[in-house]
Symmetry: C2
Subunit: 267 residues, 2 copies
């Protein structure tokens, strides 16, 4: 597949490059060459006991349903992974999202799902079947994206982390289960609502930080707890915060940053 780099800009210590791999549009964030702070030490030099890793770790990020590779929550986290950890971060549009063409198979399910959310009906089974369908495509796409990005000099073949909640969790589970380069994963806002989901979770044995919203109106609490319980990881942590599906507290990003630093070191 054809891998081409597009627009290349930098701001506040973060270099942002668009790329495309075949028909998959993506964005790569890396430390800008002048990322050192005024006093000459990198932003992440305050990490006692955290190993510096070369080549730098890469966080691959899966966006939420109806969102895209540059959704504000993705960009904000990517910038923190770059500036506070010295990592690379990348995200691509999921099929039927962002700059990708509408896919009729998916669009019908999405429309049906929106209708169920509006009606307050149970959306879990439909979401699960949608995610199972899309993930057959994304697992391959995302692995190919890693192959391409790791050939770039300023990325390299360092350890990979995965970050994804909601749709990013549903698609992330089979990806993380299949991809040995991923060494630590933040997942969440998802539940064990289909047998495939739980099956993927059981195959995952890397450290996992799992985010739940205690009053999630879309994911039944029991399904979230069952998914957390299913992870095969000896080192896993559940962070459940009060609030609904979209109320994930901002300070969980601090926790995600520290989680990746503990498990991937700093770049």
């Amino acid at each position: 597949m054809n891998f081409t780099m597009g627009s290349d800009t930098a701001s506040d210590g973060v270099r942002e490059q668009y790329f495309s791999l075949g028909e998959i549009p993506g964005v790569l964030w890396t430390p800008a060459p002048d990322r050192n702070t005024a006093n000459g030490t990198p932003d992440h030099a305050d990490a006692p006991g955290i190993a510096t890793v070369q080549p730098r770790p890469l966080i691959f990020m899966g966006h939420g349903g109806g969102q895209h590779k540059k959704a504000p929550g993705i960009v904000a986290r990517a910038r923190r992974f770059v500036t506070e950890c010295g990592y690379a971060a990348a995200s691509v549009d999921v099929p039927n999202h962002g700059d990708r063409p509408q896919d009729e198979r998916y669009a019908a399910i999405v429309a049906e799902n929106q209708a169920r959310i509006a009606a307050g009906a149970d959306t879990a089974p439909l979401i699960a079947s949608f995610q199972a369908l899309v993930s057959r495509q994304t697992v391959t796409e995302w692995r190919q994206t890693l192959d391409a990005l790791q050939q770039l000099d300023h990325v390299g073949e360092g350890p990979v982390g995965y970050w994804g909640v909601s749709l990013g969790c549903g698609l992330g589970l089979p990806f993380v289960a299949a991809e040995p380069r991923v060494r630590a994963a933040v997942l969440g806002l998802g539940g064990a609502s289909a047998p495939e989901t739980e099956e993927s979770a059981r195959k995952i044995t890397i450290p996992v930080e799992f985010l739940m919203q205690w009053d999630d109106e879309r994911i039944p609490r029991e399904a979230g707890l069952r998914l957390f319980d299913a992870f095969g990881s000896p080192d896993k942590a559940l962070h459940a915060n009060s609030g609904k599906h979209m109320d994930l507290p901002r300070h969980e990003v601090d926790s995600n940053v520290r989680f990746f630093r503990r498990h991937l070191g700093v770049g």
Copy 2:
């Protein structure tokens, strides 16, 4: 009651003073007068957007069963609250623990509990009845301790945080429910195994960070989740980590530090 200060030492930026209030022995940790770092800025000056609070906040800490006011886990956390937040921290011996005389009413229950742990039997109901009994005494003692400590010039009447897990959770619940000076609490390694426990939790409406061990051999998972669910707090977070009762990961202290800084500011 007679309040007297005892031995007064300082090391690594932390002043440590023994005190006694009537028959209750305790320890107070505060920033040592020379706590500024080499470059002249306090250790906690790196907190963007976190309010500086005067008088300084105080973290009152409840120790675990069989432990005492200077158990390593208490001292280590107290020192971090002092050096990283500029707080005061204090802990007292629970009746029948540490430097306090053996109390026959409690000793019999403790012995029975040890036997049940050794036999792998269900200890939850016994622990709950023990904690209910002791807390009738400790709620009063701890409130009187706050009264006394807050009269010290280097403590003052700032906001109070509570930290306590296991026995420190069982005794902390009715204390936090009763004491309006407590504005944020870290609790955990406890479960809703008695009606009083759940009742206290419902009365608590301040921010709570609740620590669970997912494979706790002493607290049934269901009882831990039910206790978390019972908190009346609109802002509550559950952190459940893989591992047994005594395996609380060290990095949760980082999280506790940030939790208190968010809710109490820095001193």
